[in-house]
């Protein structure tokens, strides 16, 4: 009775849906796990460790994820790589920490990091059975910048910076730092707590990672910091070197002395490509890293990409994006490290620590 009524009701839509679903299931030969790795993402199971990978004929995607600072380099390298390869590169910028989360899940082949891997992360990767290869790709200088009209502050020691940025800092005005300086309130700008820049600056300047005064304007967008400094005569900010290079008309970069003590400080050095590369500009210069999953290195296109990343051809890109290229011997060392990781006998266990 009820069924009869249903058909009389003329619910053709319903009948159609049922029919389509039946047809779909008839055509469905089931769902099976793919055995040969198609190399579409980080799922490559691979064969024997370390054998020379065969040329991958299917166009695949290389997954790079991590630091928004390293992103700028990887993006340029990816653009240029795609011009010479049929493989595609996907680059994410969810931050050093966010990139690690995908790396540990094997969802990205390469992790971009603006700081070296820490012990906790090493332990977790080992626990998950993930082996990695650490490569330095460029050097980033952190600059301390003020407004161009600020004529009193031309150099600072790390000691003075520490006084300004510790959590218990009492520095509010310029004359709290140096009594000769004006009695005006400093407007502090800095990186937000998620970024590798924040970790690096606090570690070097404050002396303890992730500890900082909190009454400052934090921004993950470095252009916001540039704007902040450019619009406030009493601003002081730490900004990646690359951003300052691009905006040298609107902000003034300060010379930094590595000394902690106020008496007889070591000479202050201005961050330039030369001083960063020569190691004179210390301690606010840091290496930038990529971490490659060793399993992913069994895919030929990833080997090509990594090789291209540290090749001579991509060094001009590093400079174009406002960073400093590695010293040549360092780059050659990186190439050697990659070659060693690719050697069949190696078994693929190139721990970052042991490689150093």
């Amino acid at each position: 009775m009820i069924f009869g009524r249903l058909t009389v009701d003329g619910s053709r839509g319903l009948a159609l849906t049922v029919l389509t679903m039946l047809a779909l299931f008839a055509g469905l030969n089931g769902c099976r796990p793919a055995n040969p790795p198609s190399g579409n993402t980080a799922a490559g199971t691979g064969t024997t460790a370390g054998t020379t990978p065969a040329e991958n004929t299917v166009a695949t995607t290389i997954n790079v994820e991590g630091s928004s600072t390293v992103f700028l380099i990887s993006q340029a390298v990816a653009n240029e790589f795609e011009k010479i390869s049929k493989h595609k590169v996907s680059v994410g910028r969810s931050g050093t920490g966010g990139g690690y989360k995908k790396f540990v899940l094997r969802q990205s082949d390469i992790w971009n990091a603006s700081r070296p891997i820490d012990d906790k992360e090493k332990a977790e990767l080992k626990e998950k059975g993930i082996e990695w290869l650490e490569l330095e790709v460029a050097i980033d200088g952190l600059s301390v910048a003020v407004h161009p009209k600020n004529d009193w502050c031309t150099e600072l020691t790390i000691g003075q910076l520490r006084k300004m940025w510790t959590p218990e800092s009492t520095v509010q005005k310029w004359n709290d730092v140096d009594s000769k300086w004006p009695d005006k309130k400093i407007a502090f700008f800095g990186a937000d707590t998620d970024s590798g820049t924040f970790e690096y600056f606090t570690e070097v300047v404050v002396g303890k990672k992730k500890t900082s005064r909190t009454d400052y304007t934090a921004a993950s967008d470095d252009n916001v910091l540039i704007q902040g400094v450019a619009n406030d005569e009493n601003a002081l900010a730490y900004i990646p070197f690359g951003y300052c290079v691009e905006n040298k008309d609107v902000v003034k970069v300060i010379k930094i002395s590595p000394s902690l003590e106020a008496d007889n400080p070591a000479p202050a050095v201005e961050p330039t490509v030369e001083t960063i590369l020569s190691g004179e500009y210390q301690p606010l210069a840091r290496p930038l890293f990529i971490y490659v999953n060793m399993e992913a290195l069994k895919r030929s296109e990833i080997v090509e990409f990594v090789k291209f990343h540290i090749s001579e051809a991509s060094q001009p890109l590093v400079a174009k994006r406002g960073f400093v290229r590695m010293p040549e011997e360092k780059r050659l060392e990186m190439i050697k490290r990659l070659d060693a990781a690719l050697k069949p006998t190696d078994g693929g266990s190139t721990d970052a620590a042991s490689a150093k």
């Binding site: 899940l105 969802q107 252009n223 290079v245």
Partner: protein, 332 residues
């Protein structure tokens, strides 16, 4: 003796004056928001001039401002919005129909109702974290992503479990994000259908399903569509949840690697593969450009914003068109 009290004339003038003031205040608020929008459009448009051209639409992102384009973001956003609409409309309308037409007002339904209202106010980044856990890593049940092949008679679809950073993960997350608004607005629309319509239908012997299907839903459709448009418009502009999911910022292909309309027609299997491919979206690209150290990228970002606005307007326009068509048929 006058009917009115003393001062009547003076107070009347005052009352009229108040009325006029109110009218002007309302007018001002309307024009204020329009004015702000105009200023915004003008400044964005001016920055985008010379940067927004056909090449910008067909190129992918690049580190060179003059070579940067929005193709991958545009295609990613369109796929996202398509899948989100496909998922959120039936789910949202279904839930609303159940809550309005079938559910009895028990404490349980009140509790559900309260939660839906609360969910509508949750910051979008929270949905991003939720989506990352549920869809991208699937609670970490598997240590490594494993590839599966879904065999259809004419093609096969390759996908991974856990799903990873694919269009489908993004669309599911945006569905969760837009569902509360869809449900609430659909409920409002259903509630505004006069009870007499239901009573008449039931009195004529129609079943509950027939009443809902043939009377209530058509009458409520314009209102439901408005809610769907609003929530989808919000979803297409979302950046935070997609960034948390790990959507790419630099990508040079459309989902499924579809290269053109012709390519999609010749290889229909690519259309089925697209939801399982990686993606980027317009707001993510704009965010990246604003963030770039090169100040020139501001112009690229402006061009991207114009594209986003145009896509939004086209979507809204289409929805309004559909709404009007349905609205004409209803008479009571």
């Amino acid at each position: 003796m006058s009917l009115h009290g003393p001062d009547y004339e003076r107070r009347l003038v005052w009352r009229h004056f108040l009325g006029l003031m109110f009218e002007w205040a309302c007018r001002l608020t309307t024009f204020l928001s329009l004015g702000i929008l105009a200023v915004l459009l003008f400044s964005i448009g001016r920055q985008a001039i010379g940067w927004l051209d056909w090449g910008f639409l067909v190129r992918s992102n690049s580190y060179e401002p003059r070579e940067a384009g929005i193709m991958a973001g545009l295609m990613g956003s369109l796929w996202l919005i398509l899948l989100t609409a496909i998922m959120s409309v039936p789910l949202g309308v279904g839930a609303a129909v159940y809550l309005e037409e079938y559910a009895k007002p028990t404490r349980m339904t009140k509790f559900i109702q309260l939660n839906i209202s609360n969910l509508a106010g949750v910051p979008s980044i929270v949905y991003g974290i939720l989506g990352f856990t549920v869809f991208v890593r699937m609670f970490g049940l598997r240590d490594r992503p494993e590839e599966f092949i879904l065999d259809l008679w004419f093609t096969e679809i390759r996908f991974f479990l856990p799903l990873g950073r694919i269009v489908l993960s993004g669309a599911c997350t945006l569905t969760l994000l837009s569902l509360p608004v869809v449900i609430i607005s659909a409920q409002e629309a259903l509630r505004s259908v006069p009870a007499s319509l239901r009573h008449a239908s039931l009195a004529l012997g129609a079943t509950k399903w027939q009443t809902v299907r043939h009377q209530v839903l058509p009458a409520a459709l314009p209102g439901i569509l408005t809610g769907v448009i609003l929530s989808l418009s919000r979803a297409i502009g979302e950046t935070a949840p997609l960034a948390v999911l790990g959507a790419a910022a630099q990508l040079s292909f459309a989902p499924g690697r579809i290269e053109s309309v012709g390519d999609a027609i010749q290889n229909p299997s690519k259309m089925l593969q697209a939801p399982f491919d990686q993606f980027t979206a317009i707001p993510l690209q704009i965010y990246g450009w604003i963030n770039d150290p090169k100040p020139v990228f501001e112009h690229v970002a402006a061009a991207g914003i114009v594209v986003l606005l145009v896509v939004l307007m086209l979507l809204n326009g289409a929805a309004i068109f559909i709404r009007q068509r349905f609205q004409k048929k209803i008479r009571w």
